[in-house]
Amino acid sequence: MIAFLLLLIPLITGVAAFIIKKQQLVKSWAILSSLITMVVAIYAAVKAPESSLSYNDSWLSLLGASFALKLDGLGLILVLLTAIAFPVIFIATYNTTYKKSSAYYGLMLLAQAGLMGVFLAYDVLLFYFFWELALIPVYFLCSGWGGEKRIPVTFKFFVYTFLGSLLMLAAILYVYSFTPDKSFSMASFYNVQIPYHSQAWLFWLFFVAFAIKMPVFPFHTWQPDTYEQSPTGTTMVLSGLMVKMGVFGVMRWLLPVLSMPAYAWGDTVSSMAVIGMLYGSLMAMKQDDIKRLVAYSSMAHIGLMALTLFAETEIGYQGVMIQMFNHGINIIGLWICVEIIERNLGTRKFSELGGLAQKAPALTVFFVIIAFANIALPLTSGFPGEFLMFTGIYTSQVTNYNVIFTVLAGLCIILGAVYTLNMIRKIFFGNTTEKTAGAKDISLNEKLVLTAVVVIILWLGIFPQSMLDLTEAASKALFKEADVTHLLTK
């Protein structure tokens, strides 16, 4: 029941938001709804009894698809992330006025409903349904409220993602044809026996869909433009939550079902991920626009997650799971700061910024802490995740190149430090420019929200055990499904 509630609350409040016309009222409505969802999600994580976490109903029984929702460890992390992220986003963007705000907030809540559905679905067809559904509100959000070149850019994003999803649909149906009881449920998909010669192209069809979403090189070309052109609230949703859909998809549906080709093609995919990481980090160093820099930095971080997934170690899986949460919070914190800078100063370019620390010390403190989390400095939440991931890559049993991958990934972290610290220096230190001369410090709601983000960062950095407890069972289960080393002859 709780699982269904998590889906239903944003859905109903989203549809209702379209009718509310007064801007202040609809903002409060959105914040209230997302806070309720957050409370329900935290309750589900901490105290809820097992039975209420799953919800099963018949839907397309002739086809073998059921409306099955369940909160297990992997889904729980991401549901928590979604539930916490949305109130943070709404409160942080409280001061921004959007024209036709009832449509804006309605679409954001519908996007949350779609995301919840993806993370909760225990049935492949339902997963696919929500995967596509989450795309539609984001399309309208980016096209309606974005920057100058938003229409062609958003359209490219939509068609690219849609093509990947359709290919995944073909693969889903092909795997479905091999299930003994002709059903789309998770159990039958995990246990299906597919003839080996089909597994390779099935793997690639699935992986292309997820790779476009994450994005992994070379399917990344939509990302920097889309992140730049969309309104920052939507960018938070895109980079904080929607990319996790891709990583989640690999963990939930690709590695357990198609584990042999995941092993066989693991080196290829890992190389793609590493190239993406290096490319993203190098491009980030060259950017003048803050938004594009953060976009490329996000690509580098997600590349690391993809690399870890295909290294197939239990500790690596755990690292990816907690890093999904941490990266989500960090990147949303970064985007909040970017939005504040853009809204108050009217520019996103480094060349026009500088010396902001003198005018807005509170913003500086928050930004620096979040940026340190981006670099994975110890004491911040970025560190445990990255450390576990590096351990996973280094101790990987399935690849011969684990040392090379670790070294290159470590190089990217160092490059990350370069561009992040460079960004801090250029925005905050040095002399004030004409744009920043009249800057004021941030307002109360922004301080509140950034405090929350920083508290989460520091808490999870110093005491990550709570996260690790949540994810341990799920990563063990995933490792059991995805591991093929026992099948290999020594």
């Binding site: 596509e132 309606g144 229409i151 359209f155 359709l166 149906l173 092909y174």
Partner: protein, 443 residues
Amino acid sequence: MMFAALIVKKSSVIKSLAIAGAAILLVVNVMQLRGIQLLKINTTGMLFFDQYALVFTSVLLAVLLLFFILNNAEIEKIGNNLAEYYALIFFIMCGVILVASFKSLLILFLGIEIISIPLYILTGSDKRNLKSNEASLKYFLMGSFSTGIMLMGIALLYGATGTFAVDKMVFLTEKPAVIPVAGMLLLLFSLAFKVSAAPFHFWTPDVYDGAPTPFTGFMSTIVKAAFFIGFIRLFAGGLLPLEKSWSLWIAVIVAVTLLIANLTATFQQSAKRMLAYSSIAQAGFMLLAVLGYKMGGFEAMVYYGAAYCLASVGIFAVLAKLDDYSFEGFNGLAKQQPLVALFVTICILSLAGIPLTAGFLAKFYVIKATILTGGCTWLVIFALIMAAVSVYYYFKIIQAMYFKTGNANLAASNTFKIALAIIAVLIILLGMYPQLLLYWLYF
């Protein structure tokens, strides 16, 4: 209806009569589905009103009812002979029912002709418009030619098997002789012409573009769906023993149709022509259902027919009310008529195949049937890539409505909006609960 033209002069009475007629037909059809028969006519085994035919005709009659409600005002503006237009449409529906329930090749031919000849007249009914005259002549000449080919095919099949009855034909499955295969191929080509599959589709854009928009809406939905049911009943029913001969042909036709239609549609400037090409592309998908006949192709066909007809009727009805048929004609519609824009968006999302709409489940059923039957997975992947291409031209309409400024003006009465709302609600309901329709096939 025809006699009504002589007696009644007031157009509103004629329109109500048309709607009443469509409603009565629908009710009678549904009653027959449930086993209540009003008239018993001995059709000497030439017609067979089985469950599948009745469901399909019920769907088409329901769409016809919605079509009448939506387009009444526009049909009146086409010319002076309002009652005759309705009479012709009802004649066409008679042909549709014949095609849906045929058991004898003669009845199939009769049904196709009864559909086609009034359509030639309706296409040219805008007498002062040169494009309409051209479309009508083109359709008539090419249609008659294809009918000739079909007759030759029927004659060859009769010569080979000695009977017209489709379920009594016996073929050698190991090495089919030349004559029945040739007959089958000729039938295939002529039916492909009627459903506008490539490379027999060249008449479609000009005819759909030239005909008055309400009739285009009728032609591209109800009539096309009727030809499809004839197609699947013929090839996956009677001519099934010859499967090895026609399956590769149909697969190639599907591939060429999807390729040509989707690529050409992206270059169109006029929304009406784009919708014509889009209907060719949708026809390609429906043909794919024929290839999946073994594992649910029949139910995929009826579901796809329902989803496609609903969405297309909605869009053509809105297009009929606009002055400007290019994409710019839609500019700024969302500001002027937000409800209408929302319903059009739902129809377009259904045509593009976005989940939660009937169009997605329709494509899903077709693909599932084809993959499970096996043997043409390459075609399925190609079809999906083409479906992604189709998103481009469908979304041009959404972009014009919501994100461009212009002055599209639409005079929409409340009945119009209610009918569009019904279509949108049906699309979403069918998209979540396909059992609503498919249940009728089995019970």
